[in-house]
């Protein structure tokens, strides 16, 4: 289980002669990922999704907050000690074309982590009846490739450029599985894959969840895919490094509360003829501008429903009232969680599985398209 509490990351950028600039990529993100569960993050470009993914896999450091893996707070550990925990969290890269070393065959790509893993297990006194010899990794590699739906004999000797995008992404997933991870982080794992093969990968991810009990963090700006993979899990809507709405995936999609979520969901294309647009579709008033400082609600400059208070005070996540929605979506017990640095009130009502949002004027709107009739044609 992974728990994130107020993860913050700020980048400093500077050119050779140009002045420094600070980019807050994450401003206090927290979430809980139960074993075998799924968490999705959606948000537009540059909102900090990749940064979050990198932090979770240990490729990037965080400069505020706490990451807790199985009850161990990672910030207190030395980098070497952290590695062990990060090993259990593996990332699936967005771009299958760059995620595989072009100079190494699939076999070589899988062999090294498998060997390492075998050695580790042998060392940690696993007893090793496992057939962990030289051939051990071969069998395991074949097994993993089969698991991701590839024909081992055909794929193993190939170089990445000899594989299609979908095949590559499957190899990438197989590679992530070599170290028996408990969590997979998929950062836009399908956006670079051809439409016709996209769904196959999504289905594979779902399968892994259900069959191997692997938890999934799914990062995307494509809401539909988030829904497809993150079924039953929570959906986090992230805006400029801050989570502005959170709830069960379907709940958020069907009844978004935060105007940003609503804009995002409104933007999902409608399959005309098959679907009809939601009645309350909205759009942001202007394009994103990260440069201007926003003391109040971060979305206020673009919010179609902004009011005076929005520009002054920074809203924090609060549960969405039962009565206000008038629908299902029980408010969980509110427990005080570590507040992110951006919060201006002392405490925050975060909940493990409630529908929460950061808006002063919450109102549920139906924005997503719905299918016309029952079936197609």
């Amino acid at each position: 289980m992974i728990q994130a509490r107020g993860i913050t990351r700020t980048y400093q950028t500077h050119g050779a002669f140009t002045g420094a600039r600070t980019v807050p990529a994450l401003r206090g993100v927290d979430f809980t990922l139960p074993d075998g569960g799924a968490v999705s993050f959606i948000g537009e470009s540059g909102c900090g999704k990749t940064t979050l993914g990198k932090i979770l896999t240990g490729l990037e450091t965080f400069d505020g907050g706490e990451l807790i893996v199985d009850g161990v707070a990672l910030s207190g550990l030395k980098p070497r000690q952290r590695e062990k925990y990060f090993r259990r969290i593996q990332m699936i890269h967005q771009d299958p074309y760059s995620a595989l070393n072009p100079t190494r065959t699939v076999e070589a790509t899988l062999r090294d982590p498998l060997r390492m893993r075998a050695k580790e297990r042998g060392a940690s006194g696993g007893g090793g009846g496992d057939g962990e010899g030289e051939g051990g990794w071969r069998a395991r590699a074949a097994e993993l490739l089969t698991l991701v739906g590839l024909e081992p004999a055909a794929v193993l000797p190939k170089y990445p450029h000899q594989l299609s995008g979908g095949q590559r992404q499957r190899v990438v997933i197989a590679r992530a599985l070599t170290v028996d991870p408990e969590v997979l982080i998929a950062d836009e794992a399908v956006s670079m894959i051809d439409v016709s093969m996209r769904l196959g990968i999504l289905k594979l991810l779902r399968d892994l969840r259900s069959r191997l009990g692997i938890s999934l963090v799914f990062i995307t700006h494509d809401v539909a895919t988030a829904r497809y993979v993150g079924e039953g899990g929570e959906l986090h809507v992230i805006y400029r490094g801050e989570v502005v709405e959170r709830g069960l995936t379907d709940e958020v999609i069907l009844a978004p509360v935060h105007p940003y979520t609503q804009c995002l969901l409104s933007a999902v294309p409608i399959m005309r003829g098959l679907e009809e647009p939601g009645p309350d579709r909205t759009a942001p008033t202007t394009a994103l501008d990260e440069r201007t400082p926003t003391p109040g609600c971060l979305f206020e400059p673009r919010c179609p429903f902004a009011q005076d208070q929005c520009a002054e005070k920074h809203p924090v996540l609060v549960p969405f009232g039962l009565d206000a929605v008038g629908e299902s979506g029980a408010v969980g017990e509110s427990n005080a969680a570590a507040a992110g640095p951006a919060t201006d009130t002392g405490s925050e009502n975060g909940s493990e599985s409630g529908h929460v949002h950061a808006c002063f004027y919450p109102e549920s709107r139906r924005v997503v398209g719905v299918e016309v009739g029952a079936g197609s044609a």
Partner: protein, 330 residues
């Protein structure tokens, strides 16, 4: 632009630290050299037919200028003087300030290197564009190979070839010196003409040496720009070929400017090959002579100047990049 000023100051400071490191390094290196100044000369004088008294009198004069203080105190003394811009005094030119020698030599390196670079830059860039545009044709390939070949040929080989052809064979151009002695130096036509004439071969060598580099750099730059989408986009928008050429040219030449600054430093450091062959009295020549005569202060001074020029070139390159490219300008 205070950020800019601060960064520039930072770069300069870093450069200064580098200068100090280099000064220290060269100081001790130079003093680790075996032999005493003057030793070399003695035997040569003898062979030239000087009698041993005349020879030793000359050598004596040189000896008088070697310092006998302990190395460390020489070092601190040197640093202290250096801080005041005093590079010390030459040994082989007994007592002449090193800075005086360096200042007399400097223009004979800077001007040919600069003009050689500029000439080669202009020609190389044009040839590079041609090689890029015609890259699949025989001519383009030939141009490219010739560019790499010229870039690969050692400096002195070029210098020698030029010398053989233009001096020994055809006797079109003088082989040594900076100008004919008959002309009174100054802003008079014959003198300037003579300076030009003497500079032709060194400048041509510098130019030829760097020409290949420019050609190749420009070619690859143009090729990559040609593949850029905005070029195709401009074509699809019906922009005239002339304007498109301008787009390509500007974008392709941009990365070359930083290289230009850097290669100035490189040329500077390699100038002695050419200066020696053409007996051109520049900095490299001065360095060579001072090594031959164990003239530590001159050696250290010339080396220092070459190093400083490399450091400055580096800073300039950074600066160039920032100023020229709107993408990093802010």
């Amino acid at each position: 632009m205070t950020g800019f000023a601060r960064r520039l100051a930072g770069k300069l400071l870093a450069g200064l630290v580098m200068v100090w490191v280099v000064v220290t390094f060269t100081f001790f290196l130079v003093h680790a050299l075996p032999g005493k100044p003057g030793d070399v000369q003695y035997e040569q004088y003898i062979m030239m037919g000087m009698n041993s008294e005349q020879a030793s009198a000359k050598v004596q004069a040189v000896y008088g200028f070697t310092s006998h203080a302990p190395l460390l105190s020489q070092y601190t003394g040197y640093l202290g003087k250096l801080a005041h811009g005093d590079l010390g005094q030459s040994i082989s030119y007994s007592g002449v300030p090193v800075s005086h020698l360096i200042w007399s030599a400097l223009p004979w390196t800077v001007i040919p290197v600069l003009s050689g670079l500029l000439v080669s830059f202009l020609i190389g860039v044009v040839a590079g564009i041609f090689a890029a545009v015609k890259r699949s044709s025989r001519w383009g390939g030939l141009l490219t190979v010739s560019g790499s070949l010229v870039a690969g040929v050692p400096a002195f080989v070029l210098a020698l070839l030029l010398l053989v052809v233009f001096h020994t064979e055809w006797n079109l151009l003088p082989d040594a010196g900076t100008s004919d002695i008959q002309y009174t130096p100054g802003w008079n036509l014959p003198y300037i003409g003579s300076v030009f004439q003497h500079a032709v071969l060194p400048v041509c060598t510098y130019a030829l040496l760097s020409y290949g580099g420019w050609l190749l750099a420009m070619k690859s730059s143009v090729v990559s720009v040609l593949g850029d989408d905005f070029i195709l986009a401009s074509e699809l928008r019906g922009i005239t070929p002339v304007t498109r050429a301008r787009y390509i040219g500007r974008n392709a030449i941009l990365p070359l400017f930083t290289v230009l600054a850097l290669s100035f430093g490189v040329m500077f450091a390699g100038s002695f090959f050419i200066e020696d062959t053409f007996d051109y009295p520049g900095l490299g020549n001065l360095l060579l002579k001072s090594i031959g005569t164990r003239d530590y202060p001159v050696m250290a001074g010339a080396f220092l100047l070459i190093t400083v020029s490399i450091i400055i070139a580096n800073i300039l390159a950074d600066l160039c990049y920032t100023l020229i490219d709107p993408r990093v300008r802010r």
